[in-house]
């Protein structure tokens, strides 16, 4: 149904895909795996027409009229606007996709979200809408009925007239899949369809996917985070592994788990995350007290109380009470149900706390809310004082050290420039001090981030919050980062890693 040969893509000299060959057959369910940054999303974007590869060819064979694109394309091909390699034309070849962040049309109802997908609607031609409204209206009525049927089959009966930004994440993921199917998708690319869902939501989406494969012989290509991958067991027929720019395809034996690392078979564990990578042990050290504390929506807060840092009579350093964070109309944190209200969290002085949560949980939003970049409702008490109305630099001066992820430095400054924004300069990274930050590798950037943050702690009384401290780092770099973190002067450390999964898949 789809064949691609020799796909190459490089971003600014960094080769992400290096001669990838792909073949897809009807009814296949593919799990696309690979560590972060290995090009999963890039491949998805290329196959769905959102990104043009540097070289290679793609054949779309899903419907009656096959279509082939060869790259690099000649400049005269761009002159014909009906021959562009763009998502809308690729979608008409039967490629559908969903996004990690869902992307429903928020101001429209669920029914409209489905009906809008219908290909070739006569009313979408303004001339037809003008002179033959009756024909358009007939089609419209028929489509509305169809949409209602689809919605009820997907367990959304009675919600047809709800606005798409008022439903739960799990529901919206199902609507997004229904929308892609209604648009005529024969191959469906799913970008993290289970991310951010609770167990019920995961079960609902999975049963929907099973139905689609069985009844519609839909072909699926799924990108999913490692800790949700075990859920897909039994559905997946083929594994694709992206590694150093190449794709390795392997058939999976039905029902067996041989393809996956046995340690990942945690599908039925009550809490999805219990794994502890090497950096965790380094943070914990010996004979520390470790407390696991489940939070809402599958998140887990782990407190490490090392005897050298933590004293039982320490006062709380950070208290979050009734916190609600909104992004646009959507509530990101707090208010999961009408009864719980906002989010609550307390950190004691001297603790090392690690918040692990699935993608889409709102980790970055929590970081931003605590550091004061985004507006939030509720109380954030730092050393007993409510700082939620203070601006972000006042919080920083009060001893709240927020450390952003390593892609969030100053790209056009040199290390030396950036360092001189801070009170003291040390010598550890002087060797690259005149190169621009944008030209550094992930590991070098992380070292710079750690270095900058270390000069900002006031000993004994400050709290350091790290957003995605281990993102894009390999094993050794992650260990190095953890060592730096544990040696900071801050009394209390709060880590919000992007996901524990990445470290494991590199093993």
């Amino acid at each position: 149904m789809l064949r691609a040969e020799g796909l190459r893509k490089a971003f600014g000299g960094q080769v992400v895909l290096d001669g990838v060959n792909v073949e897809l057959h009807r009814g296949q369910v593919v799990l696309l795996r690979g560590e972060n940054g290995s090009g999963k999303t890039t491949l998805l974007n290329i196959l769905t027409g959102n990104l043009e590869p540097d070289a290679g060819s793609i054949h779309y064979l899903a419907d009656g009229s096959p279509r082939t694109y060869r790259f690099p394309r000649r400049w005269w091909q761009e002159l014909n606007p009906f021959d562009h390699f763009v998502p809308e034309f690729v979608a008409r070849e039967g490629m559908g996709r969903t996004w990690q962040d869902v992307r429903l049309f928020g101001s429209q109802t669920l029914r409209e979200n489905i009906t809008v997908a219908e290909p070739g609607h006569p009313g979408e031609n303004p001339l037809m809408a003008l002179i033959a409204p009756a024909r358009s209206a007939r089609k419209e009525k028929q489509l509305r009925d169809q949409a209602d049927t689809v919605l009820s089959r997907f367990g959304l009966a009675g919600r047809e007239d709800s606005s798409a930004d008022k439903i739960s994440l799990g529901q919206s993921k199902r609507v997004a899949i229904a929308r892609a199917v209604a648009a005529g998708a024969k191959i469906l690319f799913l970008d993290e369809p289970l991310a951010g869902l609770d167990r019920q939501g995961i079960a609902d989406v999975l049963s929907l996917l099973k139905t689609l494969v069985r009844d519609h012989t839909l072909t699926l290509v799924i990108v999913e985070h490692v800790f949700n991958q075990p859920h897909l067991q039994g559905l997946v027929t083929t594994d694709w592994l992206l590694e150093s720019g190449k794709l390795i395809s392997s058939l999976r034996q039905g029902g067996e788990q041989s393809q996956l690392d046995p340690s990942l078979s945690i599908a039925h564990h009550p809490s999805p995350i219990v794994s502890r990578p090497a950096w965790f042990h380094l943070l914990a050290g010996d004979n520390a007290e470790i407390i696991d504390e489940p939070l809402t929506r599958g998140a887990l807060l782990t407190r490490i109380r090392r005897p050298d840092r933590f004293k039982p009579d320490n006062p709380p350093i950070l208290e979050i009470r009734d916190l609600v964070v909104k992004r646009g109309p959507r509530v990101v944190i707090g208010g999961e149900s009408s009864t719980t209200g906002g989010m609550n969290l307390t950190l004691q002085t001297g603790e090392i706390a690690i918040l692990q949560a699935p993608n889409g949980w709102g980790k970055s939003s929590l970081f931003s809310a605590i550091c004061g970049h985004i507006h939030s409702v509720g109380n954030v008490l730092f050393r007993g004082q409510d700082i939620n109305l203070k601006r972000s630099w006042d919080r920083a001066r009060a001893g709240l050290v927020g450390v952003g992820s390593n892609d969030a430095l100053f790209p056009s400054l040199t290390i030396r420039d950036a360092a001189s924004l801070l009170p003291s300069i040390s010598t550890t990274i002087r060797d690259q001090s005149t190169s621009r930050i944008s030209s550094l590798s992930g590991g070098e950037r992380q070292r710079a981030v750690m270095h900058f943050s270390n000069t900002r702690h006031t000993p004994g009384s400050s709290l350091a919050i790290y957003d995605e401290p281990f993102a894009m780092l390999d094993h050794a770099a992650a260990i190095e980062a953890a060592r730096q973190i544990v040696n900071t002067n801050s009394s209390t450390i709060f880590l919000i890693p992007s996901s524990l999964a990445q470290q494991k898949e590199t093993v």
Partner: protein, 299 residues
């Protein structure tokens, strides 16, 4: 009485303008400053065709609409690639180019409307004939008021049909998440071309109506101030629905008339009017970003 009829004609003209602009700004979410350019093109096309070839109103206005729709391709094709401030800059460039053309396409001594002197430059075109409709000349103010109302009603009917159609839903989807719409196989680039062509065509018809009413036309009707006035109408009234732009047009037309009662000198009154438009924009953005009766906030 004539004064009231005159106001009615103005309202009719600007209701078409505001509603058509709303199609682009409110439904597509694309902020444009080129609308006055297309409006003026309609006026000029009508004036030249009526003076030189004695065309009737409807064919001349439709010709103007066609010219404006063609020229709108420049703007809509840019919208394929450009977003945000960059796109606003393109529309500004389009507006400046149209103004410059109207201002400069002249050479002294040549007859008006010839290829060497199409627009008569800064002096403008005088003596534009009253509109002729199927051989019948619309001569009295009352007749013209009725005539303009009928034209406006026809334009609004077209817009109403379009705005209740699946095509409008496609535009809304594109406004909210263009990439998602494209991922569903929607040709959003075509939709942008269509929306701009229709909006510009309707603005051109309004421009023709204006030329026929005032019977004098100069490049100032394509000026940036005019574009800003049009944008103020939709922003004050509200975006994304039917009543908003109508309300905005009514407010911004009646407001200067109220100022008349202050008996200011003419130049001062014009300045005061613009001052109020400017302040209205600022106040609206802070107090009611979706406009008085709108459903959508500009992105």
């Amino acid at each position: 009485m004539n004064y009231i009829l005159h106001l009615l004609v103005y309202f009719n003209i600007y209701v078409i303008v505001a509603m058509s602009l709303n199609l682009v700004v409110g439904y597509c979410g694309l902020l444009t400053l080129a609308h006055a350019g297309f409006y003026a093109i309609g006026g000029y096309t009508y004036a030249i065709l009526a003076i030189n070839f004695g065309w009737e109103f409807i064919p001349a206005a439709l010709a103007g609409a066609a010219v404006a729709a063609m020229l709108s391709l420049f703007v809509s094709v840019s919208a394929w690639r450009l977003k945000g401030d960059y796109f606003v800059m393109v529309t500004l460039a389009a507006q400046a180019l149209i103004f410059s053309l109207l201002y400069n396409w002249t050479s002294p001594g040549e007859p008006l409307g010839s290829l060497k002197n199409l627009t008569n430059g800064p002096f403008g075109i005088t003596g534009i004939p009253r509109p002729v409709l199927f051989g019948w000349r619309v001569a009295t103010p009352a007749a013209f008021a009725i005539f303009s109302t009928v034209i406006a009603a026809a334009c609004l009917f077209v817009l109403w049909r379009l705005k209740t159609s699946p095509w409008a839903r496609l535009l809304l989807s594109m406004r909210e998440d263009e990439l998602a719409a494209r991922g569903l196989g929607k040709n959003t680039r075509l939709a942008k071309v269509q929306a701009f062509a229709i909006a510009s065509g309707l603005a051109a018809i309004a421009g023709a109506l204006y030329a026929a009413h005032v019977r004098y036309l100069d490049p100032s009707s394509a000026s940036l101030d005019e574009s800003i006035l049009m944008l103020s109408m939709v922003l004050v009234g509200g975006l994304g629905n039917f009543r908003g732009p109508a309300l905005g047009a009514a407010i911004l037309i009646l407001l200067p008339e109220v100022l008349r009662f202050l008996h200011l000198p003419d130049a001062q009154a014009a300045n005061l009017r613009l001052l109020i438009y400017g302040l209205l924009l600022v106040v609206m953005v802070h107090v009611r970003p979706q406009g008085l009766a709108g459903e959508y906030r500009i992105q």
